[in-house]
């Protein structure tokens, strides 16, 4: 029986979910220890995003239990949300607000103290020079970076990332890997939905493959995990090394 002090950061125990008559997940069971970074693989429509949304408290499982650090995602939603950083496929930004205003809104909604250093966060993701520009004029990659800034602002222990490398350039990929490595180092964990392994190969401990609504395979990541200092290298260097 899991407790809120569980050493397991993320647990799925027979998680099933259906939409109407169609079962997308049919009993997914796996666990991530604290400090672990796992890539979630699978074909289109295999239920990866559905599983991530269940852990993110955005969907309730039809059967089974999902827990974050021992907190049940369906019952103990407040505690789960306080631990989580969820990066969805869509950036979830407000087009008519500036980059700084979007971050300030996120800070206030997250209950962060007044005076949280938004500029330092924008600087970290390389958007300090457009802090006062409206998001409507941002490229897809810039919007992604701002979504990453919102993620790191909260310093969540557990990261749920849905295709986090989409629209990011090499520098952005390195930044994303840095954020993931930080979560691992801080005693958290990260579950990363991926279509391509290459950008994340430097930070993954193992991969889980979903097929037919169940875990089909769980195996170590194809390349050795590259820790802190190496994760800070530019992504193109890591990609070349993996090849």
């Amino acid at each position: 029986m899991a407790t809120p002090q569980s050493e397991l950061a993320i647990e799925a125990e027979g998680v099933a979910r259906r939409f109407g008559a169609r079962w997308v997940l049919r009993g997914v069971t796996f666990a991530l220890r604290t400090g672990e970074v796992v890539g979630l693989l699978g074909a289109n429509g295999s239920g990866k995003t559905t599983l991530l949304r269940i852990f993110g408290t955005l969907l309730k499982p039809s059967a089974g239990a999902a827990r974050i650090h021992g907190h049940d995602v369906a019952r103990d939603t407040d505690a789960v949300r306080a631990e989580l950083g969820f990066l969805a496929h869509a950036p979830g930004l407000y087009d008519d607000l500036t980059a700084r205003e979007n971050l300030r809104f996120a800070a206030e909604m997250s209950g962060l103290p007044v005076g949280t250093d938004l500029d330092a966060t924008l600087d970290r993701v390389g958007l300090a020079h457009v802090a006062n520009e409206r998001v409507r004029g941002f490229s897809a990659g810039m919007q992604r970076r701002l979504a990453v800034a919102r993620l790191v602002l909260r310093r969540p222990r557990v990261l749920l990332l849905d295709e986090p490398y989409a629209n990011l350039d090499a520098e952005g990929i390195a930044l994303m890997n840095d954020v993931i490595a930080d979560a691992g180092r801080a005693g958290g964990a990260a579950l990363v939905v991926l279509h391509e392994l290459a950008p994340a190969a430097g930070v993954l401990d193992r991969t889980i493959t979903i097929a037919g609504g169940r875990v089909a395979e769980s195996q170590p990541a194809p390349a050795p995990r590259i820790h802190a200092s190496r994760a800070e290298q530019p992504a193109h260097a890591l990609t070349a090394e993996i090849r």
């Binding site: 407040d78 869509a90 206030e108 997250s110």
Partner: protein, 228 residues
Amino acid sequence: MAFRDDLRRVRAIVWKDLATERRSKAGFNSVAALGITILILFGFALGPDVQTLRDAAAGAIWLSALFAGVLAFNRSYQVELESGALDQLLQYPGPRWVIYVGKLVANAIFVGLILVIVIVVGIVLFQVRIPSAWPSLIGVLVLGAVGLVVLGTFYAAMASRSRAREVLLPLLLFPMLVPVLLAAISASKALLVGDIMQEAGAWIKLLAAYDLIFLVATLWAFEYVIDV
């Protein structure tokens, strides 16, 4: 401390919604234009007789505010749905009522401004005489607007989960608004003719009771309609 954080979240949502509306402009302009257009159409339908126009003024103004309000309520969630912001909003810690109250206050300010425009245009078009009991009339307008916004914000959240939300919202909202509209129109009409039958007070009490009941019920039920 937690309650103070919740109030800060409410304020953040109100500011965000109003800033988004103010900057996009298209929303406010189109909603106000719709309200005025409906009033003009009522005027054409009723004909040139001044007394007929005066008798119908309260109903025409409230119905114009209702149709314009439906657009406004739909828009308030449309902004959240455009780039997946609703999912992000639901990810923040804190109770769900915070989102509802934030949206409610922002919609109240937005619809309040629309109502002011519709009333001013309605007074001119329908040649309404301002009654001596105008403070009571303002009270009716406030209570009616609260009922409209409470139910509109709640049902817009419910409809936002559906692909047919533009059609679904009026279908859900209009039947539920019948008591609020009936009370608001009857009280307004009574006050506009000097409340000869002394009936305005009863309608105002009814309106206040509906507002209170719907506010409590929607505050409680909001988390069940916004969560999937």
